[in-house]
């Protein structure tokens, strides 16, 4: 399934909960959630470890807005709003971890 995370990983437990609950499928980081996909963030190692089983996407416009597009963690795929729509279509179930 598709897990949509819109919260900063240092501000809310959402991402950690997903990493522990999400067996496979994908995580899409949007809004303040994109900070999780930046190099040097305290969750970097946990996110990289999860990439063994979960695909990780980050929303490009949100990375750009926050000035962190050039700090993308290796292995994260950047998508636009159209890619966001494609991911929703691809996975039968999605959940926004508000």
């Amino acid at each position: 399934m598709l897990h949509i995370v819109n919260k900063s990983p240092l501000e809310r437990p959402s991402l950690d909960t997903v990493l522990q609950a999400g067996a496979d499928g994908a995580i899409l980081l949007i809004e303040d959630g994109v900070y999780a996909a930046t190099r040097g963030n305290a969750v970097e190692d946990r996110l990289k470890k999860a990439m063994g089983t979960l695909k990780v996407y980050a929303l490009g416009p949100d990375l750009d807005a926050r000035g962190v597009a050039d700090r993308l963690t290796e292995g994260v795929t950047v998508v636009g709003y159209d890619g966001f729509v494609d991911l929703v279509a691809e996975y039968k179930t999605n959940q926004s971890w508000l």
Partner: protein, 120 residues
């Protein structure tokens, strides 16, 4: 009417925000539409089920008894995340209704099996 699997995921504490109360309204309407509705409680959402709400002092209406009434609406699938309970020092005896405790990873698998997941 088509029956779909709806899971309402509750991850926020009660009273500090309205989400717990307004998500219950979704549950009741989902049941009225004869959908296959389940509830998951994770992170601070497990606090919603802590028994003994006494809200007079904050001037709000307590909605604890609504959880007990869910059974009357044939809503019986209440899943509680074990790890969230442990981090808060809670046990099933602390809760106002009987629930099914399960490890976070199992709860994740259950989500995969849903048609619609609404998260509050």
């Amino acid at each position: 009417m088509t029956t779909k699997k709806f899971m309402i995921v509750n991850r926020k504490a009660p009273y500090g925000t309205v989400y717990a109360l307004e998500s219950l309204e979704v549950v009741l309407i989902g049941a009225a539409f004869e959908q296959d509705v389940s509830l998951a409680f994770m992170d601070d959402g497990v606090y919603q089920l802590k028994k003994g709400h006494q809200t007079k002092g904050i001037g709000m209406k307590a909605f604890e008894k609504t959880y007990g009434a869910l059974e009357d609406y044939d809503v019986t699938k209440l899943y509680v995340d074990q790890e969230s309970m442990a981090a808060r020092g809670l046990t099933p005896e602390d809760l106002c209704v009987p629930v099914e405790m399960m490890p976070r990873a199992d709860l994740g698998k259950l989500m995969e099996d849903q048609d619609v997941v609404l998260s509050f």
